[in-house]
Amino acid sequence: MRHEIRFSGFGGQGIILSAVILGRAAALYDRNYAVQTQVYGPEARGGASMSAVIISDEPILYPEVTDPGIYVIMSQQGFEKYGTRPAPAAVMLIDADLVHSRPSCTFHEIRSTTEAKTALGRVIVANIVMLGALVAVTGVVSTTAIEKAVLDSVPKGTEELNMKALRRGFELGDKEVDTR
């Protein structure tokens, strides 16, 4: 199975890091293959940043994501630049407070930023909340894999906060799946 996931948001939200963590979870802890790519360039600075991950159980040949099956969108600009044409079968996770538009495909509104600010006290972990929700909703990696990958990747001293954020994400994601 080949999964193509695209993340977009604005600089500083940790969009790239989310993608790297996801790839890491898949490659190191689920022992799958994974490729992570991203858009560089000065416009990525102020404007929309984008990163993509492919996860597969066989070696990944063509490494670019052209038609993602899964989207994680965390800003309106990100939506406009990278989220407007999802395949009908795609699934999109949206930070509902930051993205006004809604896609034509299946989508899940995750208030990760609000959640991070109010429930966890740190906006900075919004991406981790989102990552938790993503894993819960799609199962592209296992929960243990993503936990380990998050722990690998976050600054010392913030492990607990991030774990809390991830689990909160699991809950929000589970809720989405349940309510369907």
Binding site: F10, G46, S75, Q76, Q77, L98
Partner: protein, 90 residues
Amino acid sequence: MKLVIDESRCKGCNLCTMVCPYHIFQEGDRLNERGIIVPRLDRPERCPNCRLQKLYGRRLCGACALICPDQAIHWDEEKPYEAQKVVIEY
């Protein structure tokens, strides 16, 4: 003349809040469409430019506009100024 922050340019750095002798620029609190918190203007009519720029034919003070790294601070001609007055008089 009316002091305005061009929201399509302002990136919310708050440098303007550091330089205005009248403290007209105040840190904002509301995220705009572009995800930016633009400063709030506190009684901008206190800015000498609002009243005197036309009169002197040049910019006075202007520290905020000069430091604003995003060219977001302007003084707009207040639209149909005379006309408005007339409206009020009616």
